[in-house]
């Protein structure tokens, strides 16, 4: 190993990862007066150059599907950059019999560049799961303690929604929701008929200007990245105010390898690989915030072995990497004949659903514990490669009649995606693979995964609900699933919903948890983890909003601790 290059100064805080958790920490800590260095494994983001907003498919030779259309027909050329299911030279492995997929975004802003902008608060009951049904554990903090931070995050980033007074979907600080599309009007009516709640969705997209950001212009392309930053991404909303303080040093292309511990047992530095030069560098700080994503932060802790922490940093409990969960996902769709009569009109809207189904069966006994919500959408979106294969296979033939049928069939489908809570189980976790390193020499993760019966029953219920809603609307539900096979009732493989969390969970007991309720390591008081790793439960809500609320709260605590000299 060549000589390690040391940072010339000691920062107040070193943050690892610039996504939802890291970006929030950077903003709060830098605005709080601390000198912050932020390490990001990917390159900087340049919206003007990197985004494909408003590009038509025919303006790209590959019509959006990329060289050789090798990504299964997905229009990946249009996506915001550097979100990957597979990264060359940075593998992960799966234990025998386990199927787990790990989506990673190597770019400033991380996965907030790529997420669906769905911003749902956890409900009070989601923090008290064990008290409610005896499974899993309660959080060491309550809804009332985190609620002010949900308020702060929503007020700052901008979330549209509506006050519904539903116990499973708490009210929030909302911008007005956009009006429903035709597809959403149809589903809302059907939900009313079958007794399913259907309300305006809650997305981190501006329907009014906010904090210098323009309101949405309704092109429906949030997934491509938004030049006007009308949707939320850490790169465009959290990092700029942090930079404006003059107290943020952003280092890109920095792959964190190890948190180095001093003789006093506190974290002293982070060793990282500078990808451009393939050299080892080290940055010193008084406190550290790990926000590299739940599994990447767990990996970093497990790789930070020392004589003081032989099983990995902050891991005297042995639970780093354990309690890994993802969201239960099952999807399907149907044909809705009334959509054939819809006159051509602009159906784009925001880059996501305008209505959704929050968990509605919280007041009764179900076949499974916990709950799920339903996302749905469809209709007359911008045509893309791969959109017509199913219709071609259905109609067959060729010529003028096929051409006409494809036109009348366009926009007549609505898809549903159930998103439910997984209860942690001992068979789902990540650990270091004993035999594999990545191209930077860093040991990689090996995933173990198993769905339990509760999740499969939940997926079954999702499929039955999708069918009931579709049929109530006069549609034909087309998805066929069964109890058999590797994906019973369409349940997706672990990780596919990209809500993997829980790998350094918080708790009051240092023997069974890694962090306290301030996201501070029990074992190492100047070490914090503020991504999805601290989560105790994986409620049916998408985790991003809660990651930001926890990170904001932990950052305020960190500032107070730093100012009192307690770190």
């Amino acid at each position: 190993m060549p000589e390690v290059i040391r940072s010339p100064k000691t920062y107040d805080v070193c943050i690892i990862g610039s996504g939802a958790g890291g970006g929030t920490a950077a903003k709060v800590l830098a605005e709080g007066g601390l000198n912050v260095v932020l390490l990001e494994a990917g390159p900087p983001l340049n919206p003007e150059k990197d985004y494909k907003e408003h590009v038509w498919p025919y303006q790209l030779a590959h019509r959006g599907v990329g060289v050789g259309a090798k990504q299964g027909g997905l229009n990946d050329e249009f996506l915001a950059p550097n979100g990957f299911w597979d990264i060359e030279g940075e593998p992960y492995t799966q234990a025998e019999g386990s199927r787990f997929r790990w989506f990673r975004s190597r770019i400033v802003g991380g996965r907030t560049n790529h997420w669906g902008r769905i911003a749902l608060r956890f409900a009070p009951v989601d923090f008290k799961s064990r008290s409610s049904d005896g499974m899993g554990d309660d959080w060491p903090l309550s809804y009332e303690e985190i609620a002010p931070y949900y308020d702060k995050v929503e007020s700052f980033i901008g979330v549209f929604g509506s006050q519904e007074n539903i116990s499973s979907a708490p009210n929030g600080v909302f911008l007005p929701p956009p009006p429903p599309r035709c597809t959403e009007t149809i589903i809302k009516k059907a939900c009313d008929q079958v007794g399913v709640l259907c309300v305006p969705s809650r997305l981190a997209i501006l329907t009014k200007p906010l904090n210098g950001r323009a309101a949405c212009h309704y092109c429906g392309q949030c997934g491509r990245g938004c030049i006007s930053a009308s949707n939320f991404s850490s790169s465009q909303v959290m990092i700029p105010p942090a930079q404006a303080t003059g107290r943020l040093t952003l280092i890109t292309g920095a792959m964190a390898r190890e948190v180095v511990v001093g003789k006093d047992g506190k974290a002293a530095a982070v060793s990282y690989v500078d990808k451009a030069t393939k050299s080892e560098k080290r940055v010193y700080a008084k406190a550290f915030v790990l926000a590299a994503s739940a599994c990447e932060s767990a990996r970093l802790l497990l790789n930070s072995k020392s004589s003081l922490f032989p099983d990995g940093l902050a891991n005297t409990s042995g639970v780093v990497g354990r309690y890994l969960t993802d969201t239960v996902g099952s999807g399907g769709g149907g044909y809705f004949p009334q959509l054939e009569k819809m006159p051509p009109h602009n159906h784009d809207g925001t880059g996501g659903m305008h209505m959704y189904v929050p968990w509605w069966k919280f007041d009764r006994k179900n076949d499974f514990l916990r709950g799920y919500h339903i996302e749905f959408g469809g209709g007359r979106g911008m045509p893309g490669v791969g959109d017509f294969g199913d219709a071609c296979d259905m109609f067959e033939g060729y010529g003028a009649s096929l051409k006409k049928k494809l036109r009348s069939d366009y926009g007549t489908y609505i898809g549903f995606a159930g998103r439910g809570e997984m209860i942690p189980n001992p068979d789902s976790y990540c650990e270091l693979d004993p035999s594999t390193v990545d191209q930077w020499g860093i040991p990689v993760l090996r995933f173990h995964w198993k769905w339990s019966e509760n999740e499969i029953l939940m997926a079954k219920d999702m499929q039955e609900t999708f069918r009931a809603i579709t049929e109530a609307a006069g549609g034909t539900y087309l998805t066929q699933t069964s109890a058999e096979g590797s994906k019973p009732y369409g349940i997706e493989d672990g990780g596919v919903i990209i809500h993997e969390i829980g790998t350094a969970r918080m708790g009051n007991n240092p023997r069974t948890s890694v962090l306290n309720s301030n996201c501070q390591a029990h074992d190492v008081k100047n070490l914090f983890v503020t991504d999805g790793a601290p989560f105790v439960t994986n409620a049916d809500k998408n985790p991003t909003l809660t990651i930001m609320a926890l990170s904001w709260r932990a950052s305020e605590y960190l500032i107070a601790q730093a100012k009192s000299g307690s770190l």
Binding site: L74, D76, C182, C216, Y335, P343, D390, R407
Partner: protein, 199 residues
């Protein structure tokens, strides 16, 4: 997932969340996409008379491909057909970069000529319109493989080409206009669903 008619892609794309929940994605750098865009444009202009020089298919195979594409999506009173939409160029470009497509389409076109030669004594392009229709009517429907299993490879080929032709047509300017998609623009206000009787 054993989804039938609605692909997972459709659903995710329509939700605007394909990125965060989709199948196998890999984003290529923006520069590469721009490069690809300019590549075909420049080659179109560079070739004599603006004709496209196929990257993968032989001149004969490409001509057959063009003919088939145009037969699958023909021009009519409201729009041009697959050729006017640039579908053959799109198919040739993607195929030149994908080994599996080369087997399916390159091999499939050979199968078609061989089958026409066996049945009618000449390759597809040299057949009369009546004979061309006869063979296409056989391979355009899956049910025909039951009566004649020897058609199944041809049916598979035609199904794949039909999908790609539809992709090429409906992602073109004229195809999008033909569909009546309205959007991809800046709006100051989104009005939602227009008044529709019975909705």
């Amino acid at each position: 997932m054993s989804s039938t008619s609605v692909s997972r892609r459709d659903i995710l794309k329509s939700l605007g969340m394909g990125v965060m929940a989709g199948g196998i994605l890999r984003t290529i750098p923006a520069q590469a996409a721009e490069y690809a865009h300019h590549m075909v444009m420049s080659e179109k202009t560079a070739a004599a008379g603006g004709a496209y020089a196929p990257k993968y298919f032989s001149a004969h195979a490409y001509k057959t491909l063009q003919t088939l594409c145009q037969t699958i999506i023909p021009p009519d009173g409201s729009s041009g057909g697959a050729i006017e939409a640039g579908a053959p160029e799109f198919i040739d470009l993607i195929t030149s970069e994908n080994d599996a497509y080369q087997l399916k389409l390159g091999g499939g076109l050979m199968w078609l000529d061989e089958t026409c030669t066996d049945r009618y004594g000449k390759p597809y392009l040299d057949c009369t319109p009546e004979l061309q229709k006869e063979i296409l009517d056989l391979i355009a429907y899956r049910r025909n493989a039951k009566a004649d299993p020897g058609l199944s490879q041809g049916i598979e080929f035609f199904s794949f080409l039909r999908n790609m032709t539809a992709d090429g047509f409906f992602t073109s300017k004229i195809g999008i206009e033909y569909l009546g998609y309205i959007g991809n623009t800046f709006l100051t206000e989104f009005k939602g669903c227009p008044p529709v009787p019975g909705l």
